[in-house]
Symmetry: none
């Protein structure tokens, strides 16, 4: 009964990595439900059989991809938060906003598919929830260690992350033709700064 194995040889590790990378790419591009395991095998240039040596099923590949993707978009954000000692808080907020948009723009299609899946797949949604939590905590810590004394800081950071997220999606996907996005950005930054100011 073919249970999933962990590859040991270097070539095998590389092969598993390629299945995740290519498989995830394909599923994001074509949609999880529109991609077959044979498609993935072909695209990753491996045999169909080998997939079931390293993964339980198609879903398993996707989850592996999501995890890898999630940490990859986390990484630059965390780096930004770690580097900055917050002299100029406005600058930092703007930078994070920019970074967020940039990261999402890199893979619109992937992001859409992921958002979809996060709504119907509890495993995926858990990964993203954890991610968001981690980012929120990072921000809270960052603020604390920079001497900000903010009341109800967790609640505020949640609102902030939501604002950023929304604006990001608005910018990338909706493209309401007549909206002045620069104005919106400034407004959002100002709301955020206001939240961080107060008691």
């Amino acid at each position: 009964m073919g249970s999933v194995r962990e590859p040991i040889k270097k070539t095998s590790i590389e092969k598993k990595r390629r299945i995740i990378e290519k498989g995830f790419e394909l599923m994001c591009d074509q949609g999880y439900h529109n991609v077959t395991c044979v498609d993935i095998a072909k695209y990753a240039d491996v045999s169909t059989g080998i997939i079931y040596q390293y993964f339980k099923d198609k879903h398993d590949i996707f989850i592996a991809g999501v995890k890898s993707y999630a940490s990859s978009i986390m990484y630059p954000m965390i780096k930004t938060l770690d580097q900055n000692n917050i002299d100029n808080i406005k600058y930092v907020v703007e930078q994070i906003l920019e970074q967020f948009i940039k990261t999402h723009k890199m893979s619109k299609k992937a992001h859409e598919e992921l958002m979809a899946m996060s709504h119907i797949d509890s495993e995926v949604s858990q990964i993203f929830k954890n991610n968001e939590m981690e980012i929120s905590n990072k921000i809270v810590n960052c603020l604390n260690s920079n001497g900000f004394k903010i009341n109800k800081i967790n609640e505020k950071v949640h609102i902030i992350v939501g604002l950023i997220d929304n604006f990001c999606h608005e910018t990338i996907y909706h493209q309401h033709d007549q909206l002045d996005y620069d104005y919106m950005k400034n407004e959002i930054v100002s709301i955020i700064l206001n939240l961080l100011k107060g008691v």
Copy 2:
């Protein structure tokens, strides 16, 4: 080439309605991709054949359900906006927020499935985009006709709708254990009022 027919007789119209209602219910509950047309037929207590008389395919049923659902959640909101002459703006905002949450709470499962689909199905996303646009316009009109002179009103209303939407989801789905939702709600209402105040 069995093209889709529109029922004329009263019993048939009722049957078509039931397919939409029951089919949508089932798809939202079990997930669009986990439900077959035979399932829908059984659940709606009709034959499989009749489904293909009134709908092109499963997707067609879903879209019909989405449209019906979308207008059903629109209706109370619009009514609230129409009724109110805004004496007490704070009261109105709070009311809308409450309504939004209430409406969504009524059908959590449906909402998740719909959010998922709106990310991968352009037809669904279009319906929601239109919906959001309409609500935004309603709000803008409401504000204007109540004598509010607000600069960049469209942009602001978009930010507001996003804030409401986020808070609503946060409240219903995430349930971050230690967050003080009442505090968050007040904070959001205050941000909104601030936005509506300014030039």
Copy 3:
């Protein structure tokens, strides 16, 4: 248990006739297997239900059409054979050949479908076999009553009918580009005359 009924009222008789005519037309045009009973009902402008009052099933309609068609192509041929007292046998043969081609040209599509069905449907094939037999007998009688004393006349007439049939199909369907059809016709007429000459 809806057994087939014979219509009595004039409008009903007319309705049955229209089902045969239109149904046969449609089946010949689109192919027996590509036409549904609902198609036929629509095309004949009757309800689907009524079809099963007058016919056992789809096949039954086709057979009725075949019978009607078969006698309709028989009719002119028989008339020609009846009219002619064979003064000039060559002239008569040529006339029959011409008539045969003309009749077939009128409904190529129908004829193809009929030929197809006659190979796989014993009822259809029986109708055509009877038809051919009748024509052969007619010819034999005609020749006899015109004073021809021909040995093995049945065998010869069969060969003749086959020759005519072949040439007719060749002319209408095959259209081998470089063949001299006029020459072929003359050759065939000459073979026929030769057959009729001998002892």
Copy 4:
């Protein structure tokens, strides 16, 4: 989009061959329209899935069968034509006639189904038209290379092939009870020889 694949391994080639052979046999026996792909799979003792790896659909299997069948009935005829130097033309003609009948007798059912399909399926009809053309050309070449100088040879050979074809069908399928088939055969041979004699 599962496109058709060509088997490489020996066992697969054999499997594809069996699908054609058994599928064609079944379709000829039961009738093309009365056989499903599942039937074919069962009869050929393969899974339904594999059928769609090697063939587009049922029709595709049938065409493959027709091609294989067509060349198989061509082969002995061509061999006869190639072998003979025509010392005794009458003997050769009789031999061909005999061969034709024998080949057809071997698979009456198949032949009927094929004739039917050739009337409604352009792909099938094309195969047979090509076949007939090839045989005609073979005969023409054979005659030429044996020193026969025949005017309008193509036209005559077409008439001859038609005569043979007709007689063959008459013999096998119609079985008109009172006809003297031996006499008919002699008559046909004599007509053929007459045609080949003349300028």
